[in-house]
Amino acid sequence: MTLASAVDLARLQFATTSLYHFLFVPLTLGLGPIVATFQTIWHRTGNETWLRLTRFFGTLFLINFAIGVATGLVQEFEFGMNWSTYSRFVGNVFGAPLAIEGLAAFMLESTFLGLWIFGWNRLSPRLHLATLWIAVAGTWLSAYFILVANSWMQHPVGYKIVDGEAQLTSVWALMSNGFALRAYLHVILAGLIFGSSVVLGVSCWHFLRRHRVEVFRKAAMVALIVAVPVTLLQLVVGNRFGAAVTSAQSMKIAASEAQWETCQPCGFSAFQIGGFTKDDPTPSFSITIPKLLSYMATGSFNGKVQGLNQLQAQEQSEFGPGNYMPDVRVAYWSMRAMAYMGALMFLVAAVGALLYRKQRLERARWFQRTAIVAIAFPYIAATAGWILTEMGRQPWIVQDLLKTADANSPSVSTTWLGISLSFFITLYVALLVLDVWLMRRYASLDPLAEPEDEGEPPEAAPAVSF
């Protein structure tokens, strides 16, 4: 087999394991603060219902967290395992945020989550509540450093190339990379959407069965309070993030709009059939909204957006012969899947809030069914978002600095890759089946069932004797 197919297998494996990992990460980011809010309200009001909700959704949070941790380890190892040339090239720059993430964030979340799970009767209620908020802060900090690392691949800053290696010249530039800050906001909002849509969907599942309506009404209220502003804000932030991508990665945006020729002003293609290849650049059918693309990509209704053909010519003159266009069809549809899902999620949240205000949420069975289905929406949107981010950057692994085809591990054969890819797919499918089974089972429990004595009963004197 050729080396090219080793790169393909390595890409397929990295894409599979990363997308899978990111099914769990955003729920951790979003459900954590919601559970912490439940516990805070319980702490403030002493109302038992909030404690029950804390335990109920806390269990879902932990089932999800475990698999996020387990699959996160794979991510850290895979850079070296599958992309050793990349690792040598970027280690000076890219390794730093990963190491800082471990030291400053992951330590925090793991240690304090352990304290929260087992500390119910060991710590004072106040301190116990604090451990959860600290763990949540750890997860948010974690996401920041990881996005700093990823954003450097999209928009490298604060470095110089010495002897064919990227070397860090400014840690400040790295950490305050505008691309990273926008991506971070985008991901945190996505996390909150995950969290609120799961809480809303699960609550609606119970409404549908007329089960503990008074308890889940409270959960649904918190979910809606989060979901309405956050889904709306995400539409704005996502749009602004797109403008940042336009300036850093013009090719990605041109591909995601299937915009073959430079235009000014540019209409937004809402749907089209055909027009995804160089030989067939004109769609046979399309719905286009005038001037909208100009606005989304540049912030002005008369802005200029560069076309794929012009960018390809530019890149060729800068980097030499080669194809610098990503897969246009994938970029176009992943962008739309993400954006349309984003709009739908706002709609669901807004309608839900309206029904809640009119006190009809518990009776509107059509909406309840919708909200259960809508649990899937953020998963689809986030997956599509990462496909666009990573596949839209191709052929580069680090934008304009290193090509994916030159970045893999020369020592890893296609045989090894075949083994590891089948291994991950088998293991991950099995974990997903069990995870979904556990989540469903625990999501359908009665939150008012006799309180489970989590943590350890208070007793016994300290026992370490030297």
Binding site: L73, V74, A99, G102, I117, L438, Y442, S444, E456
Partner: protein, 348 residues
């Protein structure tokens, strides 16, 4: 101080932390299928490490990421070269991580047995492979001029590296047993003490054999003098012997000594390695060194500042966690996280 040396020491420090901490929770995992008589005792064992294992495992994440940031060429060569071995480590760690959170989530006997064994197999497997893997850095693997591994998976297995793997398993099992003697009481404590006594033999014998051969490998294959590697090796053997002697009466000291033994195993390996980070064999000249594998000064300086601030804080709050969960656990108490009753569960 030379920052490259500082980071070599820090990487060794993170691995030491990993061996010291995850070492005993691996050890507890290894004993899970054998020591407890009933579900209550299994629960005691799991609760003894429940609050801390995840924090312990982060030391591995930090060791890996620190290697990436401070020695990219080392990280690249080691992780791509040990590909299949690390794949196995990931398998063992993943099933083990999941077992902690998922095992108690169903009362089905078969479900619990499966996850109990997942935890145990994960503990044995990961310990064994870390022993084999780290000792290979010193024993030498085939590297080419670019620092890329050119061997096969089977090149990782030699009598020395297999001995290292088995010795790490034995030391961790002993370390886990001494940990249990500190965190349990009642009848179970009696059995944990007995297990520690029995496990002290293989730990001392295999640990000593591993440490002695490590010094021999360092002098024969890595161009080292007898001194300094012999120093941590001698202290390591002494610590394990002391642990074996103290295991009956002075449990706190015995645990401290098994921990010290685990740490000194790492220190001996790294002392034997320096100034190389990954020995190449047969082409010794292709070995990666602290000098050739490291990041540039600026990155190391930034990372040093970060480590200087965060490491003491991490030590403080992790130490506090151990303080919070210092009480002894008995099998007569209710379970930590029993599965919620399904009696009131509505029809799905």
């Amino acid at each position: 101080m030379d920052l490259q040396v500082l980071w070599f020491v820090l990487v060794a420090f993170f691995w030491s932390g990993y061996f010291l901490l995850e070492g005993f929770d691996f050890g507890v995992g290894m004993l899970l299928p054998f020591l407890p008589r009933d579900e209550a005792e299994r629960s005691v064992m799991l609760r003894s490490i429940g609050p801390v294992w995840d924090g312990n495992e982060v030391w591995l994440v930090v060791a890996g990421a620190a290697t990436f940031a401070a020695f990219p060429a080392w990280y690249a060569a080691m992780f791509s070269g040990f590909y299949i071995a690390l794949l196995l480590v990931l398998f063992f760690l993943i099933i083990r991580v999941v077992s902690f959170e998922w095992r108690a989530k169903s009362t089905s006997r078969r479900w619990r047995t499966v996850w109990l064994w997942a935890n145990a197999v994960g503990s044995y497997g990961a310990s064994l492979i870390w022993g084999v893997g780290l000792s290979n850095l010193l024993y030498g693997v085939p590297l080419n001029g670019d620092g890329d591994f050119t061997g096969t998976f089977w090149d990782l297995f030699s009598p020395y590296t297999v001995l290292a793997g088995v010795a790490v398993v034995a030391i961790f099992a002993f370390h886990g047993a001494t940990f249990l003697t500190l965190r349990t009481r009642g009848a179970f404590l009696g059995r944990a003490s007995r297990a520690a006594r029995i496990l002290s033999f293989p730990a001392v014998v295999l640990g000593a054999a591993f440490l002695v051969t490590t010094v021999a490998v360092a002098t024969n294959r890595n161009d080292k003098d007898l001194f300094p590697p012999v120093l941590p090796a001698a202290f390591g053997i002494a610590a394990l012997v002391l642990a074996a002697i103290l295991v009956d009466g002075r449990r706190g000291w015995a645990f401290a000594m098994t921990g010290l033994g685990a740490v000194l195993a790492v220190v001996t390996l790294f002392t034997s390695l320096y100034p190389r980070v990954m020995v190449s064999d047969p082409s010794f000249g292709n070995s990666l060194t602290v000098e050739t594998a490291s990041s540039a000064h600026y990155t190391l300086a930034v990372m040093s500042v970060v480590a200087l601030i965060t490491v003491p804080v991490v030590l403080l709050y992790q130490g506090w966690t151990y303080h919070v969960f210092r009480h002894r656990l008995g099998a007569d108490e209710p379970e930590a996280e029993p599965a919620p009753t399904l009696a009131t569960q509505p029809e799905v």
